[in-house]
Amino acid sequence: MAKTTAPSNVAKSNRKWITGYSIIGVLLFITYQFLLPWEGLPLGIYDAIYQWMPPSAINESLVYIIMALGLNIVVGYAGLLDLGYVAFWAIGGYCAGWFMSEFFYFLNINFLGSVPAEAPGIHINFWMVLFIGGFICALFGILIGAPTLRLKSDYLALVTLGFGEIIPQVFFNGENFFGYNISNGTKGIVMVDPIPVGVKNLGPFDFGWKLLIFLFLTAIMVFISLRLRRGRLGRAWLAIREDELAASMMGVPLMRTKLSAYAVGAFAGGLGGVAFATHVNGVYAERFNFTISIFLLAMVVLGGMGNVWGVILGAFILSWVNGNGLTAFGQLYNDRFGTDVDFASFTFLLFGLVLIFMMLFKREGLLPESRLKLMLHEDELDDADATSKSGDK
């Protein structure tokens, strides 16, 4: 049988982005690793960087970008609304907590770990934990998806929301989960193993080198997203997103395709969860709440559902605003005008308005994907067509 190749209307393989991405990545790395500690750097620039984009903020925004790319596969590609994505983040985080720390102090397992062999607990190499976390999350994605994907879209959203509430609560109350301690509860798991990179172990404060690692993980996610989108699976996702019924008539297996969207999306959640655990050097149960799920959704929506670069832009903007931008701007504003406005408390307003206005006026996001743009403005194309569509929904 002939090998299936992408039809001619699908864009040809494009790897040009790798060059641009590498240049930006290396520039960022040089800035944060070498320029920032350099004594010759003018104090003004040093202060500006620390006020507007400190090293920890840029690493955190990269973690958000990884997550948002994962959510983009579920929401943007396959068109399944997931309101409980934080569950995968939590599971990924706890994978790092379990397999890369002294949490299981009564065990002594060390597999290429980055700590001395006699240290108690399970210590598995970071790069393997990435995959373990990813696969456990993918498994959970399938477990959550399997019984629920038959449901209509908004019921599906609710079930994911339910899981997104239950799983963090399990970890939150996990100090006594039927008699076992699975998560240290509210105390959290503190101290995660450093990242081994051959010559060096990267602790929590090696921001520059970790920036490089997070950039690498992001690149992997970008690569996966772009490749999958062009392939058979990605085209099946887009078909389901646009018209489930038509897709199934064309022979797209609905359940399997949807489940794989869940699995791939959850895998990214696992990667991000492990990366985040090494970034904050711990896993804390109270961080995993519904707001995070909405926050990630807002990133995808703002940037442009389905477009990888749009999602990266959206994730970068929102995580920067949330983490550092708003406070820095508030400081600047308060200093200049002598006011005392608490800008950090405006995050709710900002996210709410972003979601509402984007949906009202620019549904396709900042960097739209052309196919989705057409789909989202279907109602404005032809009035008669639109009314007949809304009638049989």
């Binding site: 609304l81 309101l83 929301l161 239950i166 609560q169 709410g352 789909m375 049989d392």
Partner: protein, 350 residues
């Protein structure tokens, strides 16, 4: 014999019959497990059982009032109005400020009772106006858009209301005095708070009035027609926009009343109250069968009861698992019987 009666009970294609069987056996198992659990607890601590059941039902009434707003809106435009829980929260904050600051009543005396009565009217208007505004400004423009768009807008609205609540109420929970007569009456060993009685005295007539409005008036008829087919209703001379706005007003008024009752019975408000309670209320609506008014009421009372029993009984998961219990119910219902307890099972039309 058994076969004959079964084939009478289940109709449809083989797939549907199988599904109905699965649903039925699942329902029997769950009901059995629940009754065993309740019975064990009832034998172990009978007084405590009745006590927590009553307080559970009291919360259930509030859930039912909020759930009505979800069910009305979902019934008419098939939108999960995520902002509804936060509208409830805003109403609770509004009632607190209205009674305590604007009228200045802080204890249970005639002034307090008057404040409560006037607040009930005002807060219902408040809820209705806010809900209609939300519909007018955001949801109406997205009525023909893909389903994802209004849903995400509703989430955004919820954040917006959350922000207003945060600025209004402050970031920490606030305590408020109760102005309706409090105290306890005893039936045997069982203590019933007067506030609980008040809640039912106010809540139940509201539910009945709403039911009358939807089933027996012309406006209610228009609502039901619009929910079935918007285009056909337009042709029949129904003003669809007005009808949908009216539905939002009704839901908002119920949320307003729920906000006041919650504030008076629990006595605390916080800005993030709406999210959790809204989700629980939505679960109630789904449990009863979304789009079905009595379903929302039954679902609300049932969820309140289960939650109360879970939180207060000796053999139960306890309060820290409260949310998980509720959401597990939601997931089980959605997976096995998306139509809910009282909902009509419909097949997906193509």
């Amino acid at each position: 014999m058994a076969k004959v009666s079964e084939s009478k009970k289940f109709t449809g294609t083989p797939g549907q019959i199988r599904r109905q069987r699965i649903e039925q056996s699942g329902a029997i198992v769950i009901t059995l497990l629940m009754s065993v659990w309740m019975l064990v607890n009832l034998v172990k601590a009978p007084e405590q059982f009745v006590q927590v059941a009553i307080s559970g039902l009291r919360n259930g009434l509030i859930y039912a009032l909020i759930a009505l707003g979800y069910t009305l809106v979902y019934g008419i435009i098939e939108l999960i109005n995520f902002a509804h829980g936060d509208l409830f929260m805003l109403s609770a904050v509004f009632s607190s400020f209205f009674i305590t600051y604007w009228i200045g009543a802080d204890q249970s005396n005639p002034k307090g009772w008057l404040a409560f009565a006037s607040c009930l009217v005002v807060v219902m208007i408040f809820g209705a106006v806010v809900n209609v505004l939300i519909e007018r400004l955001a949801y109406r423009r997205l009525r023909n858009a893909p389903r994802l768009a209004p849903l995400i807008t509703a989430v955004g609205m919820s954040f917006l209301l959350n922000f207003i609540g945060l600025k209004w109420n402050g970031s920490t929970p606030r305590q408020w005095p109760t102005v309706i007569p409090s105290g306890d009456i005893y039936i045997g060993e069982i203590r019933i708070s007067l506030i609980t009685l008040w809640l039912f005295l106010i809540g139940l007539p509201l539910l009945l009035a709403l039911n009358y409005l939807v089933t027996n008036t012309k406006q209610g008829k228009a609502m039901r027609a619009t929910s079935q087919d918007k285009d056909a209703s337009t042709l029949m001379g129904i003003n669809v926009n007005k009808t949908i706005a009216f539905t939002f007003a009704l839901g908002g008024a119920m949320a307003g009343a729920a906000g006041l009752l919650y504030q008076q019975s629990i006595g605390t408000t916080s800005y993030n109250l709406g999210f959790q309670l809204g989700l629980i209320a939505f679960t109630s609506a789904v449990l009863g069968g979304i789009g079905n008014l009595w379903g929302a009421v039954v679902g609300g009372l049932l969820i309140g009861l289960i939650q109360g029993l879970n939180d207060g009984l000796p053999y139960a998961f306890g309060q820290q698992w409260s949310q998980s219990v509720v959401f597990t119910i939601l997931i089980i219902i959605l997976v096995f019987r998306p139509a809910g307890l009282l909902g009509k099972v419909t097949t997906e039309k193509v």
